[in-house]
């Protein structure tokens, strides 16, 4: 991220101090404006009592937090979030490992493949989500037309309305848009593995599978970890796909913590800015705990120093 304080003590004179401040200024302003200020506002909002219009009526203490924790749909939402993040993460990493391998090989059409993989990344998530809404539609969706015409199913599948299919459909779309980033991070990782290691392995008689599991995967670990950590945060915070694909479904049956937070503020009967802010604070804490736990378990320092 941005420059950290040097703490060098170089600027002992007044002029030196001024120069230091000048260099640090923009970065500090950015941190204060983009990270600290919203965080302070979020906490302030979460401890305030708001009318349905958004008017602040006074302090609320911990009421908003209590109301979020007592919300009858909270367990559903948390379970959805775990399923959503875990499934998208695992699927996108596994598929990306294959894609990255393919993209790293020399073959005719490689450039085309690389472009094709980056396209979902370039499109706006809302547009991608709307597009999938059309593709998966019960009445006109091309996916259903193909499924019915080919005789795989007799009647169309309600991908976005049938409770059994809603989450899997969202996961499929979520994976689709997460692939480009993941595949490119892993591709960069693959490129960083020197050829002579493979050469040595071949000389020692390693099978392709042995070479992959004993050399490629261990050496890919830093890239895998970067992809995992960033994807956990990214998928957890993903709003447009879950919100758009799920907008026809009443209640919170398929919401994740992020869309739950949004609906609390603007769509559900709670319509409470304070409650939503409290849910937002929980979201930050949740993702922080998950990421820190992951870093601890995976021994981040060792891997990134390697």
């Amino acid at each position: 991220m941005t420059a950290t304080a040097p703490g060098s003590g170089a600027g002992t004179s007044r002029a030196g101090l001024g120069v230091t401040a000048l260099w640090l200024g923009p970065a500090l302003a950015l941190i204060v404006g983009v990270v600290l200020y919203p965080a302070v506002e979020l906490v302030r909002a979460s401890t305030s009592d708001y009318s349905i219009t958004g008017l602040r009526k006074g302090a609320a203490g911990a009421d908003n937090y209590r109301r979020v924790l007592e919300h009858p749909d909270l367990s559903t939402v948390l379970l959805n979030t775990v399923v959503w993040v875990a499934a998208v993460l695992v699927l996108s990493i596994v598929i990306s490992l294959g894609l990255a391998q393919l993209m790293s090989k020399e073959f005719f059409g490689r450039r085309l493949l690389r472009w094709a993989v980056i396209v979902p990344w370039a499109a706006s998530l809302v547009i991608t989500a709307r597009l999938f809404m059309l593709l998966l539609d019960y009445n006109y969706g091309i996916v259903n037309q193909v499924l019915v015409a080919s005789g795989i199913v007799d009647t169309p599948v309600d991908f976005l309305g049938d409770d059994r299919f809603t989450m899997p459909s969202m996961i499929a779309v979520g994976t689709f848009v997460t692939l480009p980033f993941t595949a490119y991070v892993l591709l960069a990782g693959l490129k960083g593995i020197p050829d002579d290691v493979y050469e040595a392995a071949r000389m020692d008689g390693a099978s392709p599978w042995q070479a992959y599991s004993r050399i490629t995967l261990p050496l890919l670990r830093p890239a895998l970890m970067v992809a995992t950590v960033l994807n956990i945060i990214y998928v957890f915070n993903s709003f447009p796909i879950v919100y758009t694909l799920n907008d026809r479904n009443p209640g919170f049956a398929h919401d994740t913590t992020i869309t739950f937070m949004y609906k609390l503020a603007f769509k559900s009967a709670e319509k409470s800015v304070g409650m939503s802010a409290a849910a937002g604070v929980f979201n930050v804490l949740l993702i922080l705990v998950v990421v820190l736990a992951y870093l601890r378990i995976s021994n981040w320092k060792e891997a990134t120093d390697a």
């Binding site: 990270v35 008017l55 019960y138 976005l160 009443p250 209640g251 820190l292 870093l295 320092k301």
Partner: protein
């Protein structure tokens, strides 16, 4: 704890926090620079701000821009216009109030909560008598909270039953149904045509569930409130919701999963593609159908349970004025200009909606396409928008009615829970 780890954790934490902080907003943006100077109560403003809902891409912004020019020419006061889509306007208006920076005029579909929070000018302060007496009485009533009018109607709409004439002819049905029994019989005949045709496209998804349910409810003699008390789970209302569930589950005359179908991209789309025999529509849908010229349709009053006098469901949106120092005269001038026949009727005509004034009714009467709606407009029943509790109940209805019409749905339980919620909230 090692330093490197701590730094990485802090950086990632910051990243996560930033994303989360942005996550809720989805690009809301705050309310732009303050328009009115609030330096002193006596000082008059030189500029006011209007936040208007976008009824259509083609017309709304264009109308208000011209309106602002006329307003400036007449009063010398600048009218700053911000047009916001319906999807974002709740969020934007909430953010503006939260930041203590509301516009002078806000165009929204609710007002009572704002009146309850004492944020608004009442009609006594900002509406001239001539304007007030020209407004249709049922809209004055729906805009009145605790004896004072705060919600000035900008336009109205009324629902009617739309039916596909070609499908009706193919199924051998003479005319639109008048009773619920006829409705079921006709819908069955149309569904029997096959090829994905459905008798009735019923949108009970979150977008507009309260509207679709209201019109059926009104035509079974039910209402949201009776004699000032919530009557959401009255026997007629339970009967109505059970009937709607039966349409889908037992009679199978609706599209798949009506509890999870929204209006615009669900039910209307089905009717526009000629796949639905009937749908509850309003004048903007007629406009679209006329433009497409694909579906030959007719409009009729809603069927009632026993063939009694039909009621229609009316909707009006509001132009409310926020109390800000020195803005009352500018706001009054705004209303005077808006309700002049040239302005208000032009706006309503452009957007394809219905008038809110007596004088407007006369102007629109010449349009035969609107006869079905205009005949019922003065008797149209509205949702209880004059009760601030409704603002919350409406959201609860949108998020739960759909579940009642699923195969395992329980209409009685859903309405009981809504009744309980309404009673505890008001």
């Amino acid at each position: 704890m090692n330093k490197r780890f701590a730094a990485a954790a802090a950086a990632i934490g910051g990243f996560a926090l930033t994303l989360t902080a942005c996550g809720g907003g989805t690009g809301a943006g705050t309310a732009g620079g303050g328009s009115a100077s609030s330096s002193g109560a006596a000082e008059k403003v030189t500029s006011i701000k209007l936040v208007a809902a976008e009824y259509s891409k083609e017309n709304t912004a264009a109308f208000w821009t011209k309106f602002a020019e006329a307003y400036k020419a007449k009063t010398g006061i600048t009218l700053e216009v911000q047009v916001v889509s319906w999807n974002d306007i709740d969020q934007q208006s909430s953010t503006m109030v939260q930041n203590n920076n509301p516009p002078d005029i806000l165009n929204l579909n609710v007002y009572a909560s704002y009146a309850k929070d004492d944020l608004l000018w009442s009609a006594d302060d900002v509406l001239s008598d001539a304007v007030k007496s020209d407004l249709l009485p049922n809209f004055v009533k729906s805009g009145t909270y605790e004896g004072k009018m705060y919600g000035m109607p900008d336009l109205s709409s009324a629902r009617a039953l739309f039916y596909n004439k070609d499908l009706f002819a193919k199924a051998g049905i003479a005319g639109p149904p008048k009773t619920w029994d006829e409705f079921v019989t006709d819908a069955k005949k149309i569904s029997a045509l096959g090829n994905g045709t459905v008798g009735y496209a019923m949108p009970l998804g979150p977008e507009e569930a309260q509207a679709e349910y209201s019109i059926w409810m009104f035509n079974n003699g039910g209402d949201w409130k009776t004699d000032g008390k919530w009557s959401i789970n009255s026997p007629q209302n339970v009967e109505t919701l059970k009937f709607l569930k039966d349409l889908s589950v037992t009679q199978k005359v609706t599209q798949n999963n009506p509890g999870k179908t929204n209006r615009t991209d669900g039910a209307f789309a089905l009717f526009q593609s000629g796949k639905a025999g009937m749908v509850v529509g309003f004048s903007p849908l007629a406009g679209t159908l006329d433009k497409d010229a694909k579906v030959s349709y007719g409009t009729a009053a809603m069927p009632t349970k026993d063939g009694g006098t039909p009621s229609t469901y009316g909707v009006t949106d509001y132009l409310m004025a926020f109390k800000k120092p020195g803005n009352s005269e500018a706001v009054k001038a705004f209303y005077d200009l808006y309700y002049s026949p040239d302005q208000v009727n032009t706006f309503i005509k452009n957007e394809g909606f219905l008038p809110v004034t007596q004088s407007g009714l006369k102007v629109f009467a010449s349009d035969t396409k609107l006869t079905t709606y205009l005949d019922t407009l003065t008797g149209a029943k509205l949702t209880p928008t004059d009760d601030p509790g409704w603002d919350r109940v409406k959201l609860a209805v949108q998020q739960s009615i759909g579940a009642a019409v699923a195969p395992d749905g329980d209409p009685q339980a859903v309405l009981d829970s809504l009744q309980k919620q309404a009673e505890s909230g008001s």
